[in-house]
Symmetry: C2
Subunit: 572 residues, 2 copies
């Protein structure tokens, strides 16, 4: 019999003292529950992912000191094993560090296991800093149990049954199966995106069954720049599958018993049911992920309040609603900035929206400023300001106004672009792309509508006025302008984009739908031209994305480090 | 006896047809010289580095078709071996591609060698897409010679003598030494930075000597976003060292003989001398690297002309001078945008500068625009616009004006920030950071002065007016403002920054100087506080760098992918 406390915490990158404090509090709770071990997540000492901080000698010194502090703390509960994640030194050829799991007890390191499979795809780049560990199972006797250990990616190469091909030549689960411990503890920093929780359950339930191993999977929560961790730590048994799941998007500390038969049990009473395979509905998942991502980004960068340019359109409306959800209405400010080409709704709908949300709205017309620019432009450059230059000027004057406000009053500016716009470059650099963080940059426009409707349904009232949801999307930078004058309808555009940008990263169902859609479009008059035009727009706007702020990732393949494309390239 | 043509070309990422055309032309020249083999560089088929284009199925199809085209071309010169670089498919666990060297002859692939050492540090991320090749030397008999092959990084782990520790567990040079071919051909995509040429000579001359191998090292030239390749391909012998060097920063096609004694010879006549170990003087190196980087970036992005905001300060002056150097005076436009706080010199010195350079200068005052913003700010937000918000507004109004010009007339906007400013965030996001490319972003301010003086010396006259070089640096955003009011003197700042940001990436001499400087500063009154303040500024301005355009890399550790730091982190 073994008592295990899973400590699903919100660590901050670089905040070694703070992370130790969080671990200490969880260890106190574990000791209270008389747990044999308390399990933290991958790189819990330094937060995930520290990047090139790992190259700084002073950072490594702080890590050494932090590990010493942790070791000293373990003496307070001499019977408790602490399973922590930390970079450790590697001697010999290769990178100078390992991504390690350490079992600490009573002032000593009882076991060190170095992560074997270091991901180098999508947002991951661990081979940059770490050397892989040896292909050996590490097992420690705790009480009368043998406990084996894995770190995150180590568990993801067990795909024989999935027929997906292996990402690495070795599969740590095979050695672990040979060692046949009573329990496998897997520590993780597993970023969250659409479908990820279900994928984890599938992979680990299959591995548990195939290798006859009960597995405890501990993840972290919290937002780290573009990335959000959702927690949802879980316990899985060979036969019963996933029998326990911790909270999502919240810290959670929970103690379980592993009984003699290898079943997980609650510490009081008996019986854990099978956890539902279906998680949050997609839109509610998006909402919770974005809310946590914003909350952590703002807090960690030292912002209490945010400001959003309110155009009367759906993107800014949804951004405002999510910001209120994350930070409270008192901490959110909207600014409406009508120009000559703004519809009446631009201001009126913003007023209604901000009233619904309880948010302060400022009005700052830009017409005179635009006129001033246009006059000076003609005087200096000898031609009237017109066309695209005039359209972009409006966006930039608004972006400048928002930054005035941000600089003067200390609010974090949120940018409002969605993934459809960002994909095809339907946005003005140094204008509406201004901001420290984007909330919708990984949501397609069709999803922006869907999430807006969800927000209203959830509130039981029109937080986002229906008129905003119903109006045809427009940048309102020229008379009578509509997005669909220059872009295909979003229902078409989004399917092309999913197919082009995310491809095999999509779920099977979403990919099949997008691929079939594109296939059908190819056979329609003008279809191939539409597809080619979209592809070209995506390639040609790489330079804009390079200068974009971080945009919260909710899908498997987000812009940012998830998709690394050259700018000055030839695309056929 | 073997005749080898080294083809040092300027490939473009993604331009498979264009790259094949370039190779075909060089092959024709090789055939004319009756060469046995013509050597192109690493990934010559697709350009270096294609990034996630390698994940696109359509790109892989284009590569397949391109390789077939190349194979067909080789039939035109049936006696000629083509040594090309291309991604090839990898079967089995791991990444789906290899970074391969292929020897093609008369329609067939005669040899495939897969790069073994895949760099994952600094700007390199090859493990993201490629699986390493097997630890075996690949040798091909050509005529009566055995020729061995390596790809770039494969040659960089031979550091026993240097006592620097090994970056990888294997050293391809050891197996190559065992195979003892008559010649080793190394194909490379080796980005250029201060000291890199000398480092290549040192590493490969030592390896040639240690393993008794004559080596032909073929590099490419050209600018790829932030990165510039300098060519400088070379031939090195075990005893004599580097005996031949191709041009730097220019395409060069050159045929050499390898005689029976293993000596390289010119094809006509005899005798190659030892190549001087010292390359270009540093400032001339910077100049040539930046000129090529700008030229290629502009051309590849479809720009003929550039525009620069001319403040009358040294950064914009040097940017203008380098732009003229790269593109010609007719293709460069300056805009002076005086405000209330601009010194008289701001306009007058810009006029003189642009007259010296032969560049068209527009004057576009921003005083009225600033007044308009300030009026509307107070009317909308109820407070006067002042302090930092007012300072930044000036930079943003200028940035907006420059983008009006860029959008209206189709000029590429160049940003002018130097590495000192970019490091400490002494710049306005969406203001003076606006632009598609930065020329000086990897030069410290002290180097900006030095390069400016070099440009004048080289021209034999004041291209950059001495008054601009002599005036104390100022952002001119507030009355009487000087950079050194808010920052340490640049002579101090730059040494701290070199030590903090580049550390062990610096040359030994530069590192020793910076480390000693910082050490001394620590013992001086206020020294530790200055150091701490600079470090904090660097960490706190990560968010600005994340939104910066590509800045041409000239030093070993440039911002961009060369230094990957989290934004929302805790720095102690």
């Amino acid at each position: 019999m073994l008592k295990v406390t899973l400590a699903q915490l919100n660590y901050m990158v670089g905040d070694i003292h703070g992370n130790i404090r969080r671990m200490r509090e969880a260890a106190a709770k574990a000791a209270q529950d008389k747990a044999d071990l308390v399990v933290f997540s991958e790189l819990s000492l330094c937060g995930y992912y520290p990047g090139d901080l790992l190259d700084e000698p002073s950072f490594l010194q702080r890590l050494d000191a932090g590990l010493q502090d942790l070791l000293n703390l373990t003496r307070q509960y001499p019977a408790l094993h602490w399973v922590v994640g930390a970079p450790t030194r590697h001697q010999g050829p290769g990178k100078r560090l390992h991504n390690s799991l350490l079992v600490l007890k009573d002032g000593k390191i009882r076991l060190q296991y170095d992560k074997q499979l270091l991901p180098t795809y999508n947002i991951f780049d661990e081979r940059r800093h770490f050397e892989p560990g040896a292909d050996t199972a590490k097992v420690l006797r705790i009480g009368n149990c043998q406990v084996g250990f894995l770190v995150c990616e180590d568990g993801w190469n067990d795909r024989v049954a999935n027929d997906q091909g292996a990402d690495y030549a070795t599969n740590p689960f095979v050695r672990m199966g040979d060692a046949a411990p009573d329990l496998v503890v897997s520590i993780n920093a597993s970023p969250s995106h659409m479908g990820k929780r279900e994928q984890r359950h599938e992979i680990f339930a299959q591995a548990a069954q195939r290798h006859r191993l009960p597995i405890l999977y501990v993840n972290q929560i919290g937002g780290q720049d573009q990335i959000v961790f959702d927690g949802a730590s879980f316990a899985v048994e060979p036969e019963a599958g996933v029998v326990f799941e911790a909270r999502r998007f919240e810290e959670d500390i929970h103690t379980l018993k592993l009984d003699e038969q290898g079943h997980f049990q609650p510490i009081h009473g008996e019986g854990l049911g099978r956890v539902a395979s279906q998680g949050l509905p997609l839109m509610e998942f998006y909402r919770q992920q974005i809310v946590l991502g914003l909350r952590d980004y703002a807090r960690r960068c030292g912002f209490k309040q945010v400001v959003v340019g309110s155009s009367g359109g759906i993107d800014s409306a949804l951004t405002l609603a999510l910001a209120v959800d994350a930070l409270g209405a008192d901490n959110v400010v909207g600014i409406t900035m009508p120009s000559r080409y703004s519809s009446a709704g631009s201001v009126d709908d913003s007023v209604q929206l901000c009233r619904n949300l309880g948010v302060k709205l400022h009005e700052h017309p830009i017409k005179d400023l635009i006129d001033g620019y246009a006059r000076q432009f003609e005087a200096s450059f000898g031609e009237p300001l017109k066309g695209l230059a005039l359209e972009n000027l409006q966006a930039r004057t608004r972006g400048t106004t928002l930054m005035e406000f941000s600089n003067a009053f200390g609010h974090l500016l949120l940018t409002t672009g969605n993934k459809s716009e960002v994909s095809v470059g339907y946005c003005t650099l140094y204008g509406d792309t201004n901001g420290g963080l984007g909330l919708l940059g990984d949501l397609y426009k069709t999803e922006v509508f869907e999430l807006s409707r969800h927000i209203n349904r959830r509130a039981g009232r029109e937080l986002i006025p229906q008129v905003i949801i119903d109006k045809p999307p427009s940048a309102e930078l020229a008379p009578g302008q509509k997005d669909e004058d220059s872009l295909p309808p979003y229902a078409v555009l989004d399917e092309i984009l999913k197919w082009q940008i995310e491809g095999h990263h999509l779920s099977n169902a979403e990919y099949a739908r997008a691929a079939e859609f594109v296939q059908r479009l190819r056979t329609q008059p003008g279809g191939p031209e539409t597809i080619a035009r979209v592809q070209k727009l995506v390639f040609r706007s790489e330079y804009k994305r390079r200068q974009a702020p971080p945009m919260l990732r909710v899908r498997p393949r987000a812009f940012g480090t998830g998709r690394q494309m050259p700018i000055a390239a030839h695309y056929e």
